[in-house]
Subunit: 155 residues, 2 copies
DNA sequence: TGATATAGGACTAAACTAGTCCTATATCAG
DNA sequence: CTGATATAGGACTAGTTTAGTCCTATATCA
């Protein structure tokens, strides 16, 4: 179904909340209350986001989470990678070990190109757009540029 | 991981084989032998492809499968949809019933746009390109046009 | 010292995927 | 008419993945 996991979806929601109040530090409990997501789940996602460097945290009393950098510098691709590991449409694309029918199929390479194109476009979409903070709902132009400017593929 | 299932991958391989010999009718057993995929699995995938109208079949002795239409008229999006149902990055995007935090998250709409953009680009990639029959390995231009020309989103 | 908060990891239940197998039906050769 | 070949459809199982919870350790501050 070419889908992202719920955890990644939750991550986006939580990051959007943090992006909406960059000056504040929010606890997992506060984020849980605001988003109506279960507290343990919120904690789990935030811990993962911290591990991958998308949020910074403060321990102890008056602790909490905030974005590790401005929302404009956090991309959809980074969020996906943080929660689900490097993106790969098919297995051949993730491991470089050859698949059993590689010589006959020749399809893997094509899917890899598609994969690369999608990944590039996701790199151009920032948390600002995902959170709806950018004025326009989503700058579709970002998607266009990512692919129109993808010159590396032509080499 | 934003991945497609193995079944979809197999489907592409099988369709590529059929596309390489459009005049012939191949049996599931023949396709299994050529692709080195397990026979029951090949049958399963072909049946699904038949159900979704991507291949036509002949029953009985001297039966077999062939493409239901020219490879140029079969798109990556159609293959994905046939094997995995309508593409949806997140649940909100597939069902229109509101999610519990819709009012607060606002993220769903953004992901839907991304989803739509990807789907559009996949509609522009045909089996000809996936099968490597088009001269150039993959016409990356198709991906570009799909997004550059996606005017419906701006309305 | 105790309350609050994150860090890390173990654990379970549910859902999904991949793969196999069985039965029914259609076609054609002899 | 009969038997061999092939697809059609669906049931079934094993394995993996995902979602979600819980427990323990550690850091911070009143």
């Amino acid at each position: 179904m070419l889908r992202i996991s719920k955890m990644t979806d939750y991550a986006t929601v939580l990051l959007a909340r943090l992006a909406a109040a960059p000056e504040r530090q929010l606890t997992a409990a506060q984020l849980s209350a605001v988003t109506h997501l279960a507290a343990p789940t919120v904690s789990k996602v935030l811990k993962q986001l911290h591990r991958r460097g998308l949020v910074s945290s403060t321990l102890g009393l008056r602790g909490g989470y905030r974005l590790a950098r401005p929302a404009a510098q956090i991309t959809a691709a980074q969020i996906l990678d943080a929660l689900e590991g490097p993106m790969a449409l098919i297995e051949c694309a993730s491991h470089s070990h050859q698949c059993s029918i590689e010589s006959t199929c020749g399809v893997g390479r094509a899917w890899q190109r598609v994969n690369l194109a999608i990944h590039r476009s996701l790199q151009e979409i920032t948390l600002v757009e995902l959170a709806g903070l950018g004025g326009e709902p989503v700058r579709f132009a970002a998607l266009e540029r990512a692919l129109r400017g993808g010159r590396a593929e032509r080499a």
